[in-house]
């Protein structure tokens, strides 16, 4: 049985198709990343899986339970870590966990024990009586995750949990995800950071503009790019002037710019690079740095969409 | 220039909040109209009966004293007598059809004439204006009735007639007749000290009382909107960002307080104009005096708003502190009830309140009909309070942890 299965999932908001015919699955005990830029439809997909939104068409299954037909059974197997902190700031860490534990059906001694365990997992046993409103951002995120783990769900959905936090807390969260997965939990992890997806995932589904445009393991996705090499160039000026010229250079498959950095997919970096320099020189554009990369998920995204991942 | 930029930024934020603006504008207008009702005569129809309805329970309407009292009351311009039995009278009282029930006990005339005690009872709610008025209105004819009885007994004693009862009756009729004649010509004349002619103590317009009170009260509450801007700046850390620019602390304070003053002044001006044009409250009979009071009222309120904005950590605290300020200053300043009705200590403290001074200034213009010279004291006191709150606010502002 798949832990997560999404079949032909669609969501329409008026005329706007936020999710179009999404199909992917996650085996039990694996980490599946949903990778895509902002506005790709990841959060909408997650909302349908967690019962916040009703699909326009299609269905999704959590541990075999349909989210539309058996929502309560599906939710019992599911823990959700929302992107924004969803805690009661005027309750303590412990009080938050106790309340949410009750909402997941835990009671009495079992609840108490589990709350103690979760506090240990998130490393906040010493601060359990402090009001969450007084916590730092990182600490709040830990409690935010802790709530989702209370009822030992089979599946945990984590919606961009590392956005806007410091590197140390980010590292902590990524290690937590691995640990949870090692304990047997299936994790659906949404992110727009490709390095996280690469590090954590058994499978990756890439979403863009409401569609799942690619699905597979990291290696399978990279293979889609073939022998293409990625070159990152930094210029001393805006790239708009030079891009049209570089697109005409033979051997350049795809080229795009973001935040002053130009990313190009080429067949042979040794052969193409001099032509790029020559064209730049003629246009009075100076290349200040060159970086030749092995293909990665960003390369894949660029290959599939013609746009950089962070667009 | 940067002060003005900051002020305009604050004002644009305030004006974008349409619902709060509606609250600032609509609420005081609605309140003014409503409270004006509470002070005006019940209707302006000259043909309407404005007398206070009184039920009279009289078991012996033909008895001498009963008849005399009834005749006197029925001739009154202020009381409308309705004769009923006790059950109907109490029912009418509970329903509000009458404002009071006068119970004349059985044997009243006989007992009093014989020099024994007998008591007339007025059943009425003395906490209401009508109840109190009824009590006062009945006291004079009752006192005069008893006086006539006493005189008649003295006369009968002195004469020592064979039939003292007959003599006493005759003396009573004579004395009572004299009282009725005396009552026709009031010995006391009352007049309100207004600079211009007016027909009643409101200065001719019931809104003269409610309008300034609501104006002062809502000027205080209006600072919620402006104080919240400062709190939002602290929370969003844009205030801290301002401090990192080369703008000085006093410039930041000045920019904010100018915005608060503008809002308060605009609200006050709007209420003044509404009062002037719609309710015919003549604020503009002394435009400069009204302007001075409005300006210093705005300065006091905005400096208090600044203090609240500096102290409060959250929007809800702003609302709470503003409401407490509004209640305290409104109640103690005489906007809810006249201070003359309050206890001595309360009234003494109340008169020192800036709200009381604002009311005083406005009432001098509206009700007393006085001129510029009558508002200087109010303007001075409001300025002192404004300065005091401002100093406190600046001192506290410098201690905000950035």
């Amino acid at each position: 049985m798949n832990a997560i299965e999404v079949k032909n999932l669609k969501k329409l908001f008026g005329d706007f198709q936020a999710v179009q015919d999404a199909n992917f699955k996650a085996d039990a005990g694996e980490v599946l990343s949903l990778l895509g830029p902002n506005g790709a439809g990841k959060s909408t997909t997650i909302s349908m899986l967690s019962g916040l939104l009703t699909p326009t068409e299609g269905d999704a299954y959590i541990m075999g339970h349909s989210v539309t037909k058996e929502p309560e059974a599906a939710k019992k197997s599911l823990g959700v870590v929302p992107q924004d902190i969803a805690l009661y700031p005027d309750l303590s860490a412990r009080e938050n966990l106790v309340f949410w534990g009750k909402m997941y059906g835990l009671r009495g001694a079992a609840l108490k024990q589990r709350v103690d365990e979760v506090l240990e997992i998130i490393g906040l046993t010493d601060r359990q009586k402090d009001l969450v409103g007084k916590f730092s951002g990182g600490m709040k995120r830990r409690v935010n995750i802790g709530v989702a783990l209370l009822h030992k769900p089979d599946v945990v959905i984590m919606d961009e949990p590392t956005v806007g936090i410091d590197p140390q807390s980010r590292r902590h969260i990524l290690d937590n995800v691995k640990e949870l997965n090692q304990q047997g939990m299936t994790v659906l992890y949404t992110t727009h950071y490709m390095e996280e997806a690469a590090e954590l995932s058994h499978h990756i589904a890439i979403m863009d503009k409401g569609k799942v445009i690619a699905y597979g393991t990291h290696a399978e996705l990279i293979k889609m790019v073939g022998e293409q090499t990625r070159i990152d160039l930094t210029l001393n000026t805006e790239a708009e002037k030079i891009l049209p010229m570089w697109r005409k250079v033979e051997g350049v498959f795809k080229i795009d710019s973001l935040d002053g950095k130009v990313t190009a997919l080429v067949d042979d970096s040794n052969r193409v690079l001099p032509h790029l320099f020559e064209t730049a020189s003629k246009a009075n554009v100076r290349i200040t740095s060159v970086d030749i990369q092995e293909p990665n998920l960003e390369t894949v995204f660029l290959h599939l969409t013609g746009r950089a991942l962070r667009d | 220039m940067r002060i003005l930029d900051l002020t305009l930024k604050d004002l644009s934020q305030m004006f974008r909040d349409k619902r709060s603006l509606l609250f600032l504008v609509a609420m005081p207008i609605v309140f003014t109209i409503f409270m004006g009702f509470a002070y005006r005569n019940t209707n302006d129809d000259p043909n309407a009966d404005k007398r206070i309805p009184l039920a009279v329970v009289d078991p012996e309407p033909e008895a001498v004293l009963n008849k005399a009292l009834a005749t006197r009351l029925e001739a009154s311009d202020s009381i409308r007598v309705e004769k009923m039995n006790e059950a109907d009278a109490m029912d009418a009282l509970y329903k509000g059809d009458v404002a009071g029930v006068l119970v004349i006990p059985l044997g009243f005339s006989e007992q009093v004439s014989a020099g024994n005690e007998a008591q007339l009872t007025l059943i009425a709610d003395s906490t209401t204006a009508q109840g109190q008025s009824l009590y006062q209105l009945l006291r004079v004819p009752v006192s005069q009735l008893m006086s006539a009885v006493e005189v008649s007994r003295e006369a009968a004693d002195m004469i020592g007639a064979e039939n003292p009862f007959v003599e006493q009756n005759a003396a009573f009729e004579l004395a009572w007749g004299k009282w009725i004649e005396t009552a026709k010509t009031p010995i006391v004349r009352t007049e309100q000290a207004v600079a211009e002619e007016s027909t009643d103590w409101m200065g001719g317009n019931p809104y003269n009382q409610s309008s300034p009170g609501i104006l002062v009260q809502f000027a205080i509450f209006g600072l919620v909107t402006s104080a919240q801007i400062l709190v939002q700046e602290k929370k969003s850390r844009t205030l801290q960002r301002l401090v990192t620019t080369n703008m000085k602390a006093w410039e930041i304070v000045a920019g904010h307080i100018l915005a608060m003053f503008t809002i308060t002044f605009l609200q006050t001006a709007m209420l003044v104009l509404f009062g002037q044009w719609i309710l015919h409250v003549d604020y503009l009979r002394e435009p400069l005096a009204a302007l001075l009071v409005a300006v210093t009222l705005g300065l006091w309120v905005s400096s208090m708003g600044l203090l609240i904005g500096v102290i409060a950590k959250e929007e809800q605290q702003v609302i709470l502190y503003s409401m407490i300020a509004m209640f305290l200053f409104s109640a103690m300043g005489g906007t809810w009830f006249p201070l003359e009705a309050a206890g001595g200590t309360f009234a003494m403290i109340g008169r020192a309140m800036p709200s009381a001074w604002a009311m005083n200034g406005l009432q001098n213009i509206l009700i007393r009909g006085l001129g510029m010279e009558s508002v200087w004291m109010a303007v001075g006191m409001l300025s002192v309070y404004a300065m005091g709150f401002f100093i406190l606010a600046v001192w506290r502002f410098k201690r905000i942890e950035m």
Binding site: - | V112, L120, E154, E191, L320
Partner: protein, 426 residues
């Protein structure tokens, strides 16, 4: 069970919120306390009002051949300077009407009493247009009324003496007897003694007074003290206003949770949405209940308010809670965010409270009849009506109608609001 968990969670959050506690308990107690501070000391006859500043212009002089020893004007004047009134009247002399009027305008005095020249002589000779003029500050009403009363009583005393003399003389003559002028002072003294005792009983001895005013209540613990009654009505008005505020504010917690993200999180748990909503409604109900109990107990012990007997209190209180819960649910069902909720809370509830008569509870007949009719369309109006009946000592059977209306209104409002919330969230 989960409903109880949610109720407890909401109650915990409410009672930790300084704002909530401030608005639920502190504000109504503070307001009532202010009124108590203003008027409470007057309860039980302890008069401690602001002294009335009176200026007296006494131009009255007697001619050499006057029958009076002292001018009436002197008697009027001395009334205001008497020791017995010094605690509530501060009197001063003024040389003429102009200076007295100027003093009124300058607010140095509140009332000027102007006794014209030859007042005594003109009065005794029966001149029609002789009058004592009272000029008052137009913003005052109590002081001028008191002064007018005092002057009227004094002059009535003089008039009564005159009527006594005339009546006795005329009756003596009618009986063929010759009045002896030597006896006149004795008549006057007898009458004056009677008049003094009569007035004293009227104001200070209600058991012996010829005329008394009593409150219309019929209960065992009726209070004849008007200040007590006023405090009770004030506290009731505050309690009602803030009960409705609490209802709406508590219900606003659902909007707060929506904005915090915890409502969405609740929906991701295996807890059905009807239970989530039900938990909110129950929390609102209990919050208002607890608030009401605190205020009633505080009102009794802090301000000495006697609410009434248990059966009528239960009726009024239950109706209040149901009505406030219903209105809170209904109002918040129309609101999309906490930002919108603010003006609804502040403006909407204040307007409804106003229309319901909460702000004019102590002057009910001052409003036109139309306004009293409007009050019947507001739940606050019916709750106030019920509490008035409680304080008037009316029996429980009389409260059944307002009770039924409060429950009916509350249930209908709740039903509409709950349906709207269910449509929105379920």
């Amino acid at each position: 069970m989960k409903i109880i968990d949610m109720v407890l969670k909401d109650l915990t959050r409410s009672f930790r919120s300084a704002f909530a506690i401030g608005m639920m308990v502190v504000a109504p107690l503070m307001l009532t306390g202010l009124i108590y501070f203003a008027f409470g000391g007057m309860s039980g006859g302890d008069v401690s009002m602001t002294p009335i500043k009176v200026g007296v212009v006494n131009a009255d002089k007697l001619p050499d051949d006057s029958v009076l020893e002292t001018p009436i004007g002197d008697n009027i004047r001395s009334m205001f300077f008497d020791e017995s009134v010094q605690s509530w009247i501060v009197a001063s002399d003024y040389v003429d009407e102009e200076t007295a009027r100027a003093a009124v305008n300058a607010q140095e005095i509140g009332v000027a009493v102007i006794i014209p020249q030859n007042f005594s002589e003109s009065y005794l000779s029966g001149e029609q247009d002789v009058q004592v003029l009272i000029v008052s500050d137009p913003t005052l009403s109590i002081g001028p009324a008191v002064v007018e009363d005092m002057v009227t009583m004094m002059i009535d005393g003089v008039a009564g003496g005159g009527i006594a003399i005339e009546t006795i003389m005329e009756r003596l003559q009618a009986n063929g007897m010759q009045p002896n002028p030597v006896d006149i002072p004795a008549w006057v003294e007898q009458y004056s003694n009677w008049y003094r005792d009569f007035q004293r009983n009227l104001f200070h001895n209600p058991e012996k007074a010829a005329y008394v005013i009593v409150a219309p209540s019929a209960g065992e613990r009726e209070t004849a003290d008007p200040i007590q009654k006023m405090m009770g009505l004030t506290m009731a008005g505050q309690m009602i206003f803030f009960a409705f505020f609490t209802g709406a504010y508590s219900m606003m917690s659902i909007l707060r949770e929506e904005e915090e993200g915890t409502l969405a999180r609740l929906f991701t748990t295996p807890t059905d949405r009807t239970s989530i909503l039900a938990g909110k409604f129950v929390a609102v109900f209990i919050t208002i209940l607890l608030q009401g109990i605190v205020l009633m107990v505080a009102g009794h012990y802090a301000f000495g308010i006697h609410w009434g007997s248990w059966d009528v209190i239960a009726l009024a209180f239950t109706g209040q809670i149901v009505a406030a819960t219903g209105l809170g649910v209904l109002l918040m069902a129309f609101v999309k965010s906490t930002k919108q909720g603010g003006p609804v809370l502040g403006g909407g509830l204040t307007a409804l409270g106003m229309l319901g008569g909460l702000f004019t509870a102590n002057m009910p007949n001052a409003l036109p009849a139309a306004m009293n009719i409007v009050a019947n369309f507001t739940p606050q109006g019916w709750v106030l009506k019920a509490w008035r009946m409680v304080m008037d000592g009316q029996p429980a059977s009389d409260l059944l109608l307002p009770f039924a209306v409060m429950i009916g209104m509350g249930v209908v409002m709740f039903a509409i609001g709950a349906l709207m919330f269910k449509k929105r969230f379920a």
